[in-house]
C-alpha cells in the first residue's frame, strides 16, 4: 500500500522542545527508576543509624535473603495485577503448599501423615495442588466473572484453614535434606535464595517485556475488551496467570520452609499486605496494564532495606509495625506525587 500524505495540508500545533524531564517521563524510564533516589536515601539513613548496615554480611544475608521469598511472591502478584486481576490467596499458598509436602513426608509421630512419601513425590504433589488452586481461582474469576478480590479472599481463608487442619496447628520440623537444600546451599558464596530470586526476576522481566504472551497480558489488563476484539484469548490467559501465580507462590513457600528449616501452621500469614505494598510502591497499577518487573524489584528492595533498618536501629519490636505502616503510607503519597501525573491534553 502506498504511503500518502493527506490531501489537505495541515499545520502542526506549535510546540516548545521537550526538556529533559519530559523526555525521561515520556520514555517510561522515569517511572521505573522513580524509587532509586528513595532507595539510596534509605541506604544512607541505614548507614548513618548503624555501622553494621553497609556490611556485605548484612546486605546479603539479612536484606537480600529475607527479601528473596517476598520478592518472588511479588513477581507472581505483579503479573496478576498487570493482567488486570487480584490474587489475595497467594499468601496462603505460601503456607499450604510446603505444609502439604512436609506432611506427606514426615512420620505421624512428629505430626506428619505417616505415609512416608519421598520428597520429590511430595514436591510434585505440592505443585499439582497449586495448579488446582490456580485453576479454581482462574475459572471463578475468568469464566464466571466473579469478583477477584472476594474469590481470592475466600480462597485465602479456605487454604489457611486447610493448613491449620493438616498440621493440627503445630510447627513441623526435622525436614529431610532435600527441603533444607533450598535454604542452605550457596553458589559462589551467595545463598541460593538470592540466585533463585534473580533468576525468577530476569526471566519474568524478559517475559513481560518481550514475549508475545507477556505483551498480551499488558493489553488484557489495560483494556480487556480491546484485547478480546484484537483476537487475544483472554479466558485462557486469565486462567494461566492465576495458575502461574499459585505455582510460583508454592515455590516461594518451599524456599521459605527451606530457609527456616520448618513449616509453621500460619506460614505466610499477613504476607499479602507487604506484597501489595511493594508492588504498588514499585509502580504496578492496581487497575492493570501498567508496571514493570524492575519497578516491582525496587519496591521489594526499598521495603527490605527499611525493615532491616528498623531491626538494626533497635526500635522496640512493639513499635515496628506502626512505623512500617507509616513508612508505607508515606511511600505511597510520594509515589503519587513523583510519578503518575502527566501533562495531558484536554480531549
Amino acid at each position: 500500500m502506498s504511503t500518502h500524505t493527506p490531501t489537505v495540508a495541515g499545520t502542526p500545533t506549535s510546540r516548545r522542545p521537550l526538556n529533559i524531564i519530559d523526555q525521561a517521563r515520556s520514555s517510561g524510564w522515569a517511572r521505573e527508576l522513580a524509587l532509586l533516589p528513595a532507595i539510596i536515601l534509605a541506604m544512607v539513613i541505614g548507614a548513618v543509624l548503624s555501622p553494621q548496615f553497609l556490611t556485605a554480611n548484612n546486605l546479603l544475608n539479612n536484606v537480600l535473603v529475607t527479601s528473596a521469598v517476598l520478592g518472588i511472591v511479588v513477581i507472581a502478584e505483579s503479573i496478576i495485577l498487570i493482567s488486570g486481576y487480584f490474587d489475595l490467596s497467594l499468601e496462603s499458598v505460601v503456607g499450604l503448599a510446603p505444609m502439604l509436602a512436609v506432611w506427606l513426608v514426615l512420620p505421624a509421630a512428629v505430626g506428619g501423615s505417616g505415609w512416608g512419601w519421598s520428597p520429590w513425590g511430595a514436591f510434585a504433589a505440592m505443585f499439582v495442588l497449586s495448579i488446582v488452586i490456580g485453576l479454581i481461582n482462574g475459572f471463578l474469576v475468568g469464566k464466571l466473572k466473579l469478583n477477584a478480590f472476594m474469590v481470592t479472599l475466600a480462597m485465602l481463608t479456605l487454604l489457611r484453614g486447610l493448613t491449620m487442619g493438616l498440621s493440627g496447628g503445630k510447627t513441623l520440623s526435622g525436614l529431610p535434606a532435600e527441603f533444607l537444600a533450598l535454604g542452605n546451599t550457596k553458589w559462589l558464596g551467595i545463598s541460593i535464595q538470592i540466585w533463585l530470586f534473580v533468576i525468577f526476576l530476569v526471566a519474568a522481566a524478559i517475559f513481560m517485556r518481550s514475549h508475545p504472551v507477556g505483551r498480551k497480558l499488558y493489553a488484557m489488563g489495560g483494556n480487556n475488551a480491546a484485547a478480546a476484539a484484537a483476537g487475544i484469548k483472554t479466558l485462557r490467559l486469565t486462567i494461566g496467570v492465576f495458575v502461574a501465580g499459585a505455582v510460583i507462590a508454592a515455590f516461594a513457600g518451599l524456599m521459605l520452609t527451606g530457609r527456616i528449616a520448618s513449616v509453621t501452621a500460619n506460614q505466610g500469614d499477613g504476607l499479602i499486605f507487604t506484597v501489595f505494598a511493594a508492588a504498588v510502591i514499585g509502580g504496578i497499577s492496581l487497575n492493570g496494564g501498567k508496571g514493570s518487573m524492575i519497578g516491582a524489584l525496587s519496591g521489594v528492595l526499598l521495603l527490605g532495606i527499611i525493615q532491616n533498618i528498623l531491626v538494626l536501629s533497635q526500635v522496640p519490636s512493639f513499635w515496628i509495625q506502626a512505623i512500617y505502616g507509616l513508612i508505607i503510607l508515606s511511600a505511597l503519597i510520594f509515589n503519587y506525587l513523583a510519578g503518575s501525573r502527566r501533562t495531558r491534553r484536554v480531549v
Binding site: T3, H4, T7, A9, H211, R215, A226, A229, A230, G231
Partner: protein, 527 residues
C-alpha cells in the same frame, strides 16, 4: 469602569474588571485567551463573543483548541492569560468562568441508568425536608415542571435505562438546565439519535432559543449547524479565525477555513478525488457470502455478498441489526443459523483469531470500549492483532520487526504522534481512530469490516481516512462499512439497508439522499 459597551466594540479589559452592560447583550465575552499544556500551545489567542439568545456553532479540527476553550468556559481549566465574562443565571455578568452559568450536555451520557428520570434531573442537589431526609415529592415536581416544556412529562418516573435515546438526551438537557443557567452547551447532541429523533431535538432546541437561552453548539456534522445555528465561530491553531452568520457561509467554505486551505487548492484537490462510480467489470470474484444469518432477535435471516475490490455500505436505524451482522462477520459474535463464507473458510463461530487468520479485519464501533489499550504505545496497539507473527529469536518479540510493521502502517494512515512509543491515550480522537484502523489492517486482511469508522473524527482526518479506504479498495481489498453517517456511505459502491433485522433494500452508488432516508425508515422503494 467604562460606559455601556455596544456589540462588537473592542474593550480594553484587564483581569478583575467587572463589566456591566446596560442591556446585558452579550451572554459570553471571551477575549485573548492563551493556554499551554507543557510544550503544547492549545490556545494562542481565542476570542468568543456571543449575544444573549444567540445560537452559535463552535467548529474546529481536533487539536484546534475547541475542547480547551470549552473547558475554560466551564471552569475546568484556567487560562494562562485573557479574560472570560459570562452571564450568570441571575443575568449579571461576572468575571471568570461559572460552572453554574453554563449547562453542558456532552456526548457521553452522564445519567445514572439505575435511577429514575426525576432523580437524575435533580442529581446532586436533592431538595431536603425539614429534618434532612430527601423530599421525593419536590424532586418529582421539579422533573415534571422541566419536562412539561418539552411535552415529555410522562417519562418522569421511568428508569433511565428503559428510555429511548432521544428521551435520554432530553433528560440530560433538563438536568443541565434545572439549576437555572441561561447558556446551554451541546456537544454532538445527535450522537446516537436517528433522523427522526434529531429533527425533534432541533425543534426543541429552537423553542429553547425562543425562551431566550443562549446555545453553543459543537458538532462535526456540518449539515446540522445550518439547521440550528445563527452563527459560526471557527477555531484553528488555537485562535478564532472566522466568526460569521450561517446564512453567509457554505459547507465548503467552512471546511476550507477549518483546514486553512484556499478555495482554489480545495477545488483542485476535490477534482482529483472526485467520487468515481466503479464499474462492475473492475470488481473481482465474490469473496464474502452470508446466507440466512440469524442472531437472536436482532438479525432474522440476512443474505449478502461482497466481491473483491468492492466497497459495500451497511446501514439502518438503531437496532436494525446491521451492527450485529457486521460483528458476526468479523467473528466477534456467533451466528445461530445460516452460514458465513470468506475466501473458502467457514466463519461465524465467533472465533476472532480464526476470522483474522481467514483474512477478515475488524474496526470496532467504539474505540474507547474495545478499540485501543490506553496506556500501551501506539506501536503496540497498532500491532496488537499480529503479536504472534512478530516473533523472533527464542519466541520473543522482535522489536525491529514490530517497528518496521508500525512504520508502514503509520505511513499508510498518516498517524500523527510524538513517536511509536507514545501512549495512545495522549493522541487526538482522529489519530486514535487511525491507530484502531491500523490495527485492523496489520494482519493484512482481504476484507475489512468497519463500524462507524469516522465517529468523533474531525473533517480533515475524515478525508484522510476516506483516502486510505479508497486506496485499500483500489488495491483489491473488500470493505464493509457499517455506518449511519452519510459521508461514510458516499464512498461505497452500493449500500445495503437493514430494517427490523432483515435486508430491506440495496442502493447502488448515485442514489438520492431521500431514497436512502426512506429505505432506512423502512419505506417501500419507488417502483
Amino acid at each position: 469602569m467604562s460606559g455601556p459597551a455596544g456589540p462588537g466594540e473592542r474593550l480594553n479589559l484587564r483581569k478583575g474588571d467587572i463589566v456591566v452592560t446596560a442591556n446585558t447583550q452579550n451572554a459570553i465575552e471571551i477575549r485573548g485567551l492563551k493556554k499551554s499544556f507543557g510544550s503544547t500551545q492549545a490556545l494562542t489567542d481565542a476570542n468568543l463573543i456571543v449575544r444573549s439568545g444567540e445560537s452559535r456553532a463552535l467548529l474546529g479540527r481536533n487539536g484546534a483548541g475547541k475542547s480547551t476553550l470549552i473547558a475554560m468556559l466551564t471552569g475546568l481549566v484556567t487560562p494562562d492569560s485573557g479574560s472570560i465574562h459570562i452571564q450568570g443565571a441571575n443575568g449579571e455578568i461576572t468575571e471568570g468562568p461559572g460552572s453554574d452559568a453554563i449547562a453542558c450536555v456532552y456526548q457521553k451520557s452522564t445519567l445514572v441508568p439505575e435511577l429514575t428520570v426525576a432523580e437524575n434531573i435533580s442529581l446532586g442537589a436533592y431538595p431536603r425536608k425539614r429534618w434532612g431526609s430527601v423530599d421525593w415529592a419536590a424532586i418529582r415536581r421539579t422533573a415534571v415542571d422541566q419536562l412539561k416544556d418539552w411535552g415529555y412529562e410522562r417519562i418522569a418516573d421511568k428508569t433511565v435505562a428503559d428510555l429511548e435515546p432521544l428521551e435520554k438526551k432530553i433528560v440530560e438537557v433538563c438536568r443541565a438546565l434545572s439549576r437555572g443557567p441561561r447558556i446551554l452547551l451541546l456537544d454532538e447532541p445527535t450522537a446516537g439519535l436517528d433522523e427522526g429523533a434529531s429533527h425533534e431535538l432541533f425543534a426543541q432546541i429552537d423553542s429553547l432559543r425562543q425562551r431566550g437561552v443562549t446555545v453553543i453548539y459543537v458538532s462535526h456534522h456540518l449539515e446540522e449547524i445550518f439547521k440550528v445555528c445563527d452563527s459560526v465561530t471557527i477555531l484553528r491553531d488555537g485562535r478564532d479565525v472566522l466568526t460569521a452568520q450561517t446564512a453567509d457561509l457554505t459547507v465548503n467554505r467552512i471546511v476550507n477555513v477549518m483546514a486553512g486551505v484556499s478555495e482554489e487548492e480545495a477545488a483542485a484537490a476535490k477534482k482529483g478525488i472526485a467520487a468515481e462510480h466503479r464499474r462492475q467489470e473492475q470488481l473481482g470474484e465474490t469473496r464474502l457470502t452470508v446466507s440466512g444469518a440469524r442472531i437472536g432477535l436482532r438479525v432474522l435471516g440476512a443474505n449478502l455478498t461482497v466481491r473483491a475490490g468492492e466497497c459495500v455500505g451497511l446501514t439502518g436505524l438503531d437496532g436494525a441489526g446491521h451492527v450485529q451482522l457486521a460483528q458476526a462477520i468479523a467473528g466477534q459474535v456467533a451466528i445461530e443459523n445460516g452460514t458465513i463464507e470468506h475466501n473458502g473458510h467457514t466463519l461465524g463461530q465467533g472465533n476472532v483469531i480464526k476470522t483474522i487468520n481467514a483474512g477478515v479485519g475488524f474496526v470496532p464501533e467504539d474505540r474507547h470500549v474495545n478499540g485501543y489499550v490506553p496506556e500501551l504505545s501506539v506501536e503496540e496497539n497498532a500491532t496488537l492483532t499480529i503479536v504472534d507473527r512478530l516473533r523472533g529469536r527464542g519466541g520473543l518479540i522482535n522489536s525491529g520487526r514490530r517497528r518496521a510493521c508500525f512504520t508502514e502502517l503509520s505511513g499508510a494512515w498518516a498517524i500523527k504522534c510524538d513517536g511509536p512509543t507514545q501512549a495512545v491515550e495522549e493522541l487526538s480522537g482522529g489519530n486514535q481512530q487511525k491507530v484502531v484502523l491500523a490495527r485492523a489492517l496489520a494482519s493484512n486482511p482481504d476484507t475489512l469490516v468497519l463500524v462507524h469508522p469516522t465517529a468523533g473524527v474531525d473533517v480533515t482526518a475524515k478525508e484522510s481516512i476516506y483516502e486510505s479506504l479508497r486506496e485499500l479498495r483500489d488495491s483489491g481489498r473488500s470493505l464493509l462499512i457499517v455506518s449511519t453517517d452519510d459521508t461514510d456511505l458516499e464512498i461505497c459502491d452500493r449500500v445495503i439497508v437493514m430494517y427490523k433485522g432483515e435486508i430491506h433494500a440495496e442502493l447502488n452508488a448515485g442514489y438520492e439522499e431521500w431514497e436512502l432516508v426512506g429505505a432506512i425508515q423502512g419505506a417501500e422503494a419507488a417502483a
